[in-house]
Subunit: 215 residues, 2 copies
């Protein structure tokens, strides 16, 4: 990107991460840890190969990411956030919070990756009964299953399957998010294509921290 040529901290930041695709590359590395070129490509549907290569070069030069030769049995290059790159997490978290109300619209062509939803769910959900015994919910909403767990009264989310889920939600991502956010009533869940297995009371316990305004 061409520099803004301003002596301003915001402009200087955007000189580094303001390019198209750049923050989404940081997102991928923040969510998934070390990634191969191919992993990044899969997590950034639509990016041109030359652009990905160029952005990675620029980010490395700026000290945001580092290249790393994986240990012998793997024999590939891994891209990883540096300490400086990790410090971009607050920016990404604020963008998630700001973007959540926009998740009520899902365009037909929108790509879906479960790992994009994991961070958002952890930021927005809260355990309304922190002293009760922990619960586990499994979501089947994207390309991979997601687990929501309560631990010490706080919510933790991760990709993967649960050993024993207290509830399982299966369906398209948008209604599932709407149900968890309280925008869809549990009674309307089935009408929105959601299959619910388990104790319905869990939905009351795990809910949105602050109900987002209806746009």
């Amino acid at each position: 990107m061409r520099s803004y040529d301003e002596y301003c901290a915001i402009a200087k930041s955007l000189d580094v991460v303001g390019d198209r695709w750049t923050l989404l590359i940081v997102r991928e590395l923040a969510l998934r840890g070390g990634c191969r070129y191919t992993d990044l490509r899969n997590g950034l549907p639509g990016i041109a190969s030359n652009l990905l290569a160029e952005r990675l070069r620029e980010l490395e030069h700026a000290g945001v990411i580092a290249r790393e030769d994986a240990p012998p049995p793997i024999a590939t290059t891994l891209f990883r956030l540096t300490a400086r790159g990790e410090q971009l997490r607050p920016v990404l978290e604020d963008l998630i919070r700001w973007g959540l109300p926009l998740m009520t619209e899902q365009k037909p062509g929108d790509a879906v990756r479960s790992h994009w939803l994991v961070w958002a769910l952890e930021l927005m959900l809260t355990d309304r009964r922190p002293d009760a015994s922990p619960v586990t919910v499994e979501l089947q909403a994207g390309d991979e299953p997601i687990v929501i767990e309560t631990r010490d009264g706080t919510i933790h989310t991760r990709l993967g399957r649960a050993d024993s889920a207290d509830a399982t939600l299966t369906g398209p991502p948008r209604p599932i998010l709407g149900l968890l956010l309280g925008l869809i009533q549990p009674g309307d869940a089935k009408a929105n294509g959601i299959d619910y297995q388990g104790d319905p009371a869990i939905l009351d316990r795990i809910g949105a921290e602050t109900t987002p305004p209806p746009s």
Copy 2:
């Protein structure tokens, strides 16, 4: 900007504010409140006129800003952040924090506006002796004077002049910032073109919250 077409809160946010210049327009409105087209133009040196008009249209359509007809004696249009736009402040604050270490380099062609520095100073400075009587420092560093004041143990900054400053710093922006951040020793201030009037002990009292790593 072309949509990323991803069902991801970060991508949805960037679909709205990821365009070139867009976040800097929000910065101007966040820092200065209601602005005329001409004010925005002055605060965004280098932006093409058609781009500013186009971005303003997009931001209005996205509900981030609103147009407002100023009261009769002024007879002009004011652009203002909506409540939704105000919620972008955390994003801008994180970008300021992340970009601060980059302020150690000031390219020769970099434009300087005092109001860009005001927010950064408020975020990074702290009053190390909150119980002592309040102090006022005036900076003559950019196109407008800046006032730094302690109030109830917290730092407040604003554009303007102080009625009675306990100290006044005059000089180029970068060394002044370096002095306040502790990257330049008070003894080296004069060698960096800084003129200091007042009690030098104030520099010990008002300092950087966390010393940024030397790049």
